[in-house]
Amino acid sequence: MSALPLSSLFRIILEKKSTLRFLVGTIGSLSFSIAVILATIGLMDGFEISLKKALSHSNGDIKFRAKDGFFLPDEKLTNVLQSDFILNYSTILQIETFAIGAQESKGVLLRGIEPESFGNITGIKTESLKNGILIGKQFQKKYKLAVGDSLVLAFASGKKQDQGSAHLQEFIIDGVVEHGIYEKDFRFMYIEKQKLIDLLAYREATSNFGIIKIKNFENINDSIEKLKYELGDKFRFDPYWSEFEVLLEAVEIEKISISIVLQLIVVVAILNVVGFIIFLSETKAQDFFMLRALGLSIKSFQKFWFILLGMIWAIACLFSKVLLYLFSEVILELPFIKIPGDIYVLSNLQLILDPFDYLYVFGISLGWILLIGFLTMRKLKKNTLLGGLRREFS
C-alpha cells in the first residue's frame, strides 16, 4: 500500500530546473563547508601526527640525559638499560659546532652515534656513515652540498693546547639523512661516536644523551616511571615528543576551538539547506496535499522526505571528500602554492583525518539536517488535509 515509487515522488518534487539548480547549489555549499572543516582538522591532525612520527623517527621512544651533563655508561645504567621492557638503546655524544661555509657559518648539532644501534632505534639511515659525517637534507639543499663534498666544522677548544681558539676540522660528507622535521634536517649532523671522542680527546665511552626503544610502545609512560625509579637521581627521562610538548598541546587546543568556530560555516551551509527545504515546502505543498488526498500516507511521505534529506547529506559528504582531495592536492602538492616548509616545524605538511574526524563533522551536519527536516515535517503534519487542499488550491 502507498507504494508510489520513490522515483515518481522525486520526479514530482524535483521537476523544475530551478528546483534542481537550487538543490545542486545547496549540496555544493554544504559539501564545501564540510570540506573546509575537515581540511582544517586534517591539517592540524596531520601536523600533530607527522610531528610525533618524525620525533619518534629521530629520538626513539624515550630519550635521556644525565643531570650533570656527561656520563659514562656504568654497570648500574647498563643493567637498567638491559631490562625486559627495553628493546634497544643507544648512547650519544652530541656537541654544538659551527659549519664553516664560503660566505657564512651555521651553528649545528653534531651527534656522535653508534651507527648500528642508533639506526635500529630511529630508522635514520646511518649505513653510509664511514669516516666522515652525515648531514640533514635541508642543510644539503641550502648549501648545495653533495655526498663526497667536504665540510669544515669548527669546534670550541676546551682542552689542552687549543685553549682560546677554534679547532677546525674538515670532513667528507658520507650521506644525507632525513628526520621529517625541518629544524632537525637543517641543524643535525652525525659522526661516528668514537671518532668524535677521539677528536675531542674525551674519556672512552663519554656520552651526554641516550635514546631507548621499548618493547611495548603503549607503555611509554609506565616505562619512563620505571626508569625514573631506577635511575631518577642521576638521569632525566622524557618521551620522544617532549621537546614539542607545548606546541602539541597548543595544536590540540587550537583544533578544538577552530572546530567550534568552524561550525559557523556549517550553520551557513545549513541555512542553504533550510532555504531549499522552505522553497520545497512552499512550492510543493500543493503536490503534497494532493498526493495525500489520493491515498499517500503521511508515513510514506515522511519516508520519502527523510530519504531526500539523507541523499542531500550523503551526496554532500561524498562531494566533500572529492573537494578534500583537491584541497590536499592544491595546498600541499602544487609547487607555486605549496606551504613553505621553513614556516612550519615539519618539512612537509600532510592532511590526515581519522574516522572520528569524519564521524564528528558528518554527524553534526546530519544532525542539523534531520532537525530541520523534522521541524518541516511537523509543520506539514500540523495542517489538516482539507485545510491544506483549500489553502493550496484556492
Binding site: M1, S2, A3, S8, Q286, A293, L296, I298, L389
Partner: protein, 218 residues
C-alpha cells in the same frame, strides 16, 4: 445502509460547521447535497471522504467506521474506496494527464495495465483520449475536469464524491459532466454523492438533502 452517518459534529474553533447530522444512503444510489456557501456541505463531503476527521459522531461506510481508522488506514481507505472529484481539477502540472490519472493506482501499488485499459475506455467515453499524453496546461478547463473525473474513478471506487464538480464550467459543460458522472457511477455500480449549489444540477438528482448552518433542513 451503504453510508450511515450518525450524530456528526464538526467545529473549527468556535464555529460549529456540522451539527448533529444523521442520514443514510443506500448502495449504488445517488444523492445530491445542496446548501448555500458556508452551510457545511463541503465539510460534510470531506468528512465522508476521509479527508477530514469529525469531532463527534460516526461515519460508517460499507460497514467500516472510518472515524476509528488511523492515518495509514485512512490513506488506504481513500485510495481504494473513494473517488474524489474536486471543484478545481487539482492536476499536477509536472505530469501528463495519463500519469495524473494513474497516480492513485501507483500510490496504491495496483497493477497498472488493467487500470490503463479502464482509463482508455473512460477517456473514449469522455472524449479526452487526445489529452492523455498532454500536460494539464495544454488542455481546456472542461477537458481538465473530465481528466479529473477519470482519475477519481480509475480504481473503480465504491463511492464517488464530487465537490462542486461543475462550479467552474459553463452550462453546456455542466450538463455533460453531470450526465457523465451519473452514467459512470451506474456503469461502475458505485454510489454517487455530489455537493452543489447549482439548483439545476440538484433538480436532476432523485435524492437530495439540503443543509443550512450545519443542519439538514430537508
Amino acid at each position: 445502509m451503504f453510508i450511515d452517518v450518525q450524530n456528526l459534529e464538526k467545529s473549527y474553533g468556535n464555529t460549529r460547521v456540522l451539527r448533529n447530522l444523521s442520514f443514510g444512503v443506500e448502495k449504488s444510489k445517488e444523492l445530491v447535497i445542496v446548501g448555500s456557501s458556508g452551510s457545511g456541505k463541503s465539510t460534510l463531503l470531506y468528512v465522508l471522504g476521509a479527508l477530514e476527521k469529525a469531532d463527534k459522531g460516526k461515519v460508517i461506510i460499507d460497514g467500516v467506521d472510518i472515524s476509528q481508522l488511523d492515518d495509514e488506514q485512512l490513506a488506504r481507505f481513500r485510495n481504494e474506496f473513494i473517488g474524489f472529484v474536486f471543484q478545481f481539477h487539482f492536476l499536477l502540472p509536472s505530469m501528463n494527464c495519463l500519469d495524473n490519472i494513474l497516480l492513485p493506482a501507483k500510490i496504491g501499488g495496483h497493477k497498472l495495465q488493467p487500470v490503463k485499459r479502464r482509463v482508455l475506455e473512460f477517456a473514449k467515453i469522455l472524449k479526452v483520449e487526445h489529452c492523455l499524453k498532454k500536460y494539464p496546461f495544454e488542455i481546456s478547463g472542461g477537458e481538465q475536469q473530465r481528466i479529473n473525473i477519470i482519475r477519481a474513478i480509475s480504481l473503480n471506487p465504491k463511492l464517488i464524491l464530487c465537490d462542486e464538480p461543475t462550479g467552474n464550467l459553463d452550462s453546456k459543460n455542466t450538463q455533460t459532466v453531470v450526465e457523465l458522472l451519473r452514467g459512470l457511477s451506474e456503469k461502475t455500480n458505485s454510489t454517487l454523492l455530489l455537493v452543489t449549489h447549482d439548483v439545476g444540477v440538484a433538480e436532476s438528482f432523485s435524492h437530495k438533502i439540503t443543509i443550512e448552518d450545519g443542519q439538514i433542513i430537508s
